[in-house]
């Protein structure tokens, strides 16, 4: 791809990436929000985390299919338990990586 047209492509991609991240901050962070909206927004993180995580563990392939045999899923269960018991981010990441490495190299 030619230099200048590639640059314009990147500028366009950059704009549509940046605007959705910037607009809500600029509009919402500068004022006091109604209580119900704060309450609603307070549930967003847990919902987004779960919505990002669950499909990545349960689904595989293109097009996506439900696949309960993926190592990602089976490693997730002990990792979840480990996180629950220890509340340690560093420990959980290392535990999950180690277990995933064991499972994917041994089976």
């Amino acid at each position: 791809m030619k230099g200048s047209s590639y640059l314009w492509l990147l500028v366009g991609m950059g704009l549509v990436t940046y605007l959705p991240r910037w607009l809500p901050l600029q509009v919402l962070a500068r004022r006091r929000l109604p209580l119900w909206l704060e309450e609603w927004l307070g549930l967003i993180p847990v919902a987004i985390l779960s919505a990002l995580l669950a499909p990545s563990l349960l689904l595989g392939g293109t097009p996506r299919v439900l696949d309960l045999g993926r190592p990602e899923l089976w490693v997730a269960l002990p990792t979840l338990l480990f996180a629950w018991k220890t509340r340690s981010l560093a420990g959980t990441v290392l535990f999950g990586m180690g277990l995933f490495w064991l499972v994917t190299t041994r089976f």
Partner: protein, 236 residues
Amino acid sequence: MPDSAPSQSASSGVIGDGLSAGWPICLGYLPIGLALGVLGRNAGLDPWQIGLMSVLVFAGSAQFIAVGMLSAGAAPATIIATVGMVNLRHLLMSSALSVPLRGAGRSFLALFAYGVTDESFAVNATRFRQGGWDRRRALVVNQVANLTWIVATVAGGVLGGFLSSGVGGIDYALPAMFICLLVYQLRSRLHLLTALLAGGLAVAWALWVPGNSHVMVAAVVATTLGFFLGRRRRER
């Protein structure tokens, strides 16, 4: 690495805290960034072109899609429209972050917005909730993640196919981080319920609809259901 100018004791605490919160992101970005660099190279991009993309468009999954479309010869307008769709979910994340970032200056928000990704959002939203977190520490998380991403994608482009992922389970760094952050977020039965709803909805939606609209749809629906359930329970 941050240089240590004089009188930095306070801000080296900020940077240290940001690094200790953000390192799992960096670890997870390495294999993904390297893979993107390799793909970009295969699509005919020079390492500097890949790096420029990571600077102007800091968005992992959207970059993968863009590189894929580039090598398939898609039109620029189509690529830009697709990238826009893929990144709409950040509307929701920035909205949620606007609560802990209330009162920040316009230029800070403009800078902060640049680094809002799935991963930095997950870390910062959780840390703000736990307390002892502020906007400068949050910004450090955004920026170290961005720096790692740029370095990893360029390195992938330079090193080409020499690298293979899978070393030491590094591919599981981000899933494990998300699992732990999710556990941190499960503070009440209402949060647990919302998480189960969001996960179930996301899986069902993702099975039927290609792309990643499932993140936004499932999060909005589950949050709204959880919100009304919480209200009803309190009214009783």
